[in-house]
């Protein structure tokens, strides 16, 4: 347990790490839009990602970039369309037992892995067994399975997945790359080899090509591919002969390579470069708000300063989120009103919008009531000679957003102590021991069940969860478990709305901004669309001749 816990903490730290602000709002859709060119087969594209996976095994890693870079190689049982709805992929159909605890899935019979092995029930079981195996040290995939108890092979192409209680998020979970299906033989290569990215063998539209750590990975077309989901942009083999993903972490370099035509697409265009991409006649920009938990401050409700709801409310209402977001992201990102992003399928509570506007007078009044009436030489509020200091651990460097928040909070007397550290053990220590006042983070996941990992009383940092507000409320637990038990999306949305409202009313969280994926693409690339998780899908893409 302890090694798995360490591994999961590492994944969390990756999420906490200061990511450079990437942003924009609005337009979905994709790629070049010239109508006079016909789709063609052949050609290749080069795409720059802003990060390189630390570990390439999606069963082990919690990194978004692992899920993105392995999507072309690994297929899943279920496909989640860009609109959030689910449809069959390698599972051709499924039945859910009346008590919601058992899923019986029929599998496609015409699928082969890149190594020639047949895809069948035993292969699926091998994958599920690998995810929950102790040696895998799964940072995320195992957690996604929730109350999972096991998989049974009930026919050559039929499996039964069981849970200890009703678990409706399972089908969405099964659609993620984290539960991507690898050839059983490749899984036996061992954790190190799977992590290294050289042993990835799936059944996807692209095969694993040459990989040079620190530089790039090549993907080559799988000519046998004929099992795409209906909702995909394409059927049969992919149009592109190959795709190259380069890892260019420096923003200016990545954007420069895109504008100069050295690469055909680039991820994470920073806010201050979006206008340049838009006005470049050779380029176009695709963007989509990332579903899941928005970037937010989680306030430690169980110890220290923020046990007093008045101080939490003051922090929530006294922070001018709207102004900061507009300024820092130069109008390309929207502020958040709920802990969930509006693009999270059937779970966002829109009624929270504008329900807790910036109110510095109210914040001041609340702080006065809570006894923080003094002022020190630097203008921060004090009580009994102690400064109103908010300890905020940061792994890596503070973002521009958090620096702006620090400057703004000073106006109402809060000192936001942005405590940056590059020592992963030190930071996870603070988080596990609850020795902090607030943690700022976001977590992408296209399902409302993301709320469970942030607010279920059992999802503590020590156990690998994200309950950083340290909420332990039986009522909240009941709502979240009811949502996991309910099969109807409407019923689940009702429960999720209650949790979202509660989190704002209790000021357990201060939602900040809706992170937005912004991808820059050369106009000669067509058919590139963003998946539900806001990563580009290369499968349907093609490149114009010349």
């Amino acid at each position: 347990m302890s090694s798995r816990h360490t591994a999961r903490s590492a994944g969390l730290l990756a999420a906490l790490a200061a990511t450079l602000f990437t942003a924009a709002c609005g337009s979905g859709g994709g790629g070049g839009d010239a109508t006079d060119v016909q789709p063609r087969n052949g050609g290749s594209i080069t795409y720059a990602a802003e990060k390189e996976p630390d570990c390439w095994d999606p069963h082990a890693s919690a990194q978004d970039v692992t899920a993105f870079t392995q999507r072309p190689i690994f297929d899943s049982l279920v496909y989640q369309k860009p609109d959030g709805s689910l449809e069959p992929w390698l599972a051709s159909s499924w039945k859910i037992s009346a008590d919601g605890r058992t899923y019986t899935l029929q599998l496609r019979q015409d699928v082969t892995f890149h190594d020639g092995a047949r895809f069948d029930a035993a292969a699926v079981k091998a994958n599920f067994d690998h995810i929950v195996a102790k040696d895998t040290e799964s940072q995320f995939a195992a957690g996604l399975l929730g109350p999972y108890t096991g998989t049974k092979v009930t026919g050559p192409y039929e499996i039964q997945v069981s849970f200890s209680r009703a678990y409706s998020p399972f089908l969405q979970v099964a659609s993620t790359t984290f539960l991507g299906l690898a050839s059983p033989a490749s899984l036996r290569a061992g954790a190190d080899k799977l992590c290294s990215g050289t042993a990835s063998v799936g059944s996807g539209p692209f095969r694993n090509g040459r990989y040079t750590r620190g530089q790039q990975r090549v993907y080559t077309r799988n000519a046998a591919y004929n099992w795409a989901p209906k909702g995909a942009a394409q059927s049969g083999p992919a149009r592109l002969d190959s795709v190259t993903i380069r890892f260019i972490t420096e923003d200016a370099t990545r954007v420069g390579a895109l504008s100069s035509g050295q690469i055909d697409g680039a991820a994470a265009i920073p806010a201050n470069d979006i206008a340049g991409v838009r006005t470049n006649p050779r380029l176009t920009e695709i963007s989509k708000q990332t579903p899941g938990a928005v970037d937010a401050f989680y306030l430690n409700t169980s110890s220290g300063l923020f046990t007093d709801i008045r101080v939490r409310k003051a922090f929530q209402r006294g922070l001018d989120v709207g102004t900061i977001v507009t300024s820092v992201f130069q109008g390309t990102t929207e502020r958040a009103w709920s802990v969930l992003s509006p693009t999270t399928p059937s779970s966002y509570d829109a009624s929270l919008e504008n329900s807790w506007p910036y109110d510095p007078a109210l914040a001041g009044k609340l702080l006065d009531e809570a006894g923080w009436t003094g002022r020190d030489a630097e203008g921060y509020r004090t009580r009994d000679g102690r400064r109103l200091s908010v300890f905020a651990p940061i792994y890596g460097r503070p973002t521009l957003f958090s620096q702006a928040a620090q400057a703004e909070l000073k106006k109402i007397g809060f000192y936001l102590d942005l405590h940056a550290s590059t020592d992963a053990t030190e930071v996870s220590g603070w988080l596990d021991d609850g020795k902090y006042d607030t943690v700022e983070l976001k977590w992408a996941r296209p399902d409302g069940d993301i709320l469970s990992s942030f607010f279920l009383s059992t999802e503590t940092s020590v156990g690998g969860g994200h309950n950083f507000a340290r909420v332990a409320d039986p009522q909240v637990d009941t709502w979240l478990k009811a949502a996991q038990a309910a099969q109807s999306p409407q019923e689940r949305a009702k429960q999720y709305a209650k949790v979202q409202k509660w989190a704002i009313e209790q000021a357990a969280v201060v939602p900040a901004y809706i992170s937005t994926a912004t991808v820059g693409v050369n106009k000669k690339v067509h058919g590139l669309r963003l998946s539900i998780a806001t990563w580009p899908e290369f499968y349907g893409a093609w490149v114009q001749a010349g």
Partner: protein, 253 residues
């Protein structure tokens, strides 16, 4: 610049961390001489306040470095053949690494931040200075007045304190002024890499990093701290050279 470092408020009224989010990325104007940065902070104010960090980090690093080098060099010169060989071979090994690389390794131990970087730069400059000091101490040790003192039966410790040390000190000070420029730029370089002053500290190296992403949109954020850094290093180096030239001239007279 010295005045700006000691009392920045004389030049710039506002606080270096105070910003107006409604006035970000504004070009140089009568109101904001050097424009405003991505958080609406006045770049001129930040540059003025930053003088203190660059100058003090450079000066402290040089001071510590020269003291380490002084002890090191004297010990080598006076420590007998075995001590000399050991200490100077150690210096040779460290000199094989560029000062910046050595400093980078030391930061790993001392940790990031203003203090860590200062110490790292000090350690980075020490081996080179130690060689110079050893050479000077060897010259002094073989000079007539030291031989005379030895002949008179003066105790060894007294000779070191009364004769060798004072006569090695003058070149040490010249060396310090020459090193200062290098130390300032090394400290800024480490801050630029994110190892030194942390935001929102208005340190020039850190400001360069922050401004880098905005070069196409707001050149003034990175240009002015860079320009001032160049000016400061040039000034200090020219002064150091001048001091060196004078001290050389004196020793000829």
């Amino acid at each position: 610049m010295l005045v700006a470092a000691i009392h920045p408020a004389l030049f710039a009224g506002g606080g270096p961390a105070e910003g107006d989010l409604h006035a970000t990325l504004q070009g140089p104007s009568g109101r904001h001489w050097f424009g405003t940065d991505q958080l609406g902070r006045d770049v001129f104010t930040r540059v003025v306040h930053g003088t203190r960090y660059s100058l003090s980090m450079g000066a402290a690093a040089t001071g510590i470095g020269v003291v380490i080098a002084g002890v090191w060099g004297l010990a080598a010169a006076l420590g007998g053949r075995v001590g000399d060989t050991l200490l100077m071979r150690a210096a040779d090994i460290l000199l094989a690494l560029p000062a910046v690389l050595l400093a980078l390794m030391v930061v790993l131990i001392t940790g990031r931040g203003v203090f860590g970087v200062t110490l790292a730069v000090a350690v980075g400059t020490a081996p080179g200075c130690a060689r110079v000091i050893r050479a000077q101490a060897l010259v002094v040790r073989r000079s007539g007045y030291v031989s005379a003192a030895v002949g008179l039966g003066v105790r060894r410790s007294a000779i070191i304190v009364r004769h060798v040390l004072p006569n090695t000190l003058a070149p040490l000070l010249v060396l310090a002024t020459v090193t200062l420029g290098v130390s300032i730029s090394t400290a800024a370089a480490l801050s630029y890499l994110g190892l030194g002053a942390q935001p929102p500290t208005p340190e020039w190296g850190a400001m360069l990093t922050e401004g880098q992403g905005y070069l196409g949109q707001a050149w003034w954020i990175a240009l002015f701290p860079g320009l001032l850094l160049v000016l400061l290093v040039l000034t200090v180096t020219v002064l150091g050279r001048d001091a060196q030239a004078r001290s050389d001239a004196r020793s000829w007279s």
